[in-house]
């Protein structure tokens, strides 16, 4: 029931592409993640995921289009649609998606594949 201060949460880690759960509700999780570089192409067959940019610039790239976002901009990635995420410089992102989503989806496990349900 306590409040969660996003800037405090982002100050607690420096690694990229490692989402941290800050809240859970209704089978969903809210995560904070720092990103820089380009994430592998993948898709999530059964779920949608939402990204809200907190700081910096961030792209959701599809095979045929790119969604370029800044702070206060968000998008939903439809289920089953191949995508990758990218940021030229470090950005801070809020993710909203069901619990137990593997961040690399159907892509092979790699250095980008993050532990699930990691809190902070």
């Amino acid at each position: 029931m306590d409040k969660i201060t996003l800037d405090d949460k982002f100050s607690l880690f420096t690694e990229h592409w490692r989402p941290k759960v800050v809240a859970a509700l209704n089978g969903q999780e809210v995560k904070v993640v720092k990103v820089q570089g380009v994430f592998p192409w993948h898709r999530h067959t059964d779920i949608e995921e939402m990204f809200l940019v907190w700081r910096g610039r961030f792209r959701v790239e599809y095979r045929d289009r790119v969604i370029d976002m800044g702070p206060g901009e968000m998008c939903v990635v439809p289920r089953g649609v191949e995508h990758r995420t990218a940021a030229d410089e470090e950005a801070e992102i809020l993710v909203f998606e069901p619990s137990d989503v593997v961040n690399t989806g159907d892509a092979p496990v790699s250095e980008y594949t993050a532990p699930n349900n990691a809190g902070i």
Copy 2:
């Protein structure tokens, strides 16, 4: 798949306590709402709801404590717990909760009870 710009969404309406759906995913909705004043006491028996403050100051009040938040602060209201929300001056809030939640929960229908699934 298009991006959603929160400031644009907030610029499209002026009324208070009338959440507008800006995204839907996994049976959940993301809503924007402007608030000012004090909302009726109520509870949601079966669901949690999350509030993220976008602009201004906002309180989630329980019978025994008050969570006072500013921009970039959020909280989850546990299911079944009586609460009310309040803001001394107008504030802009992001809400995450399942689709079809009645905003006044188990409280009597009143002027505060908002239409469901209203988009913008």
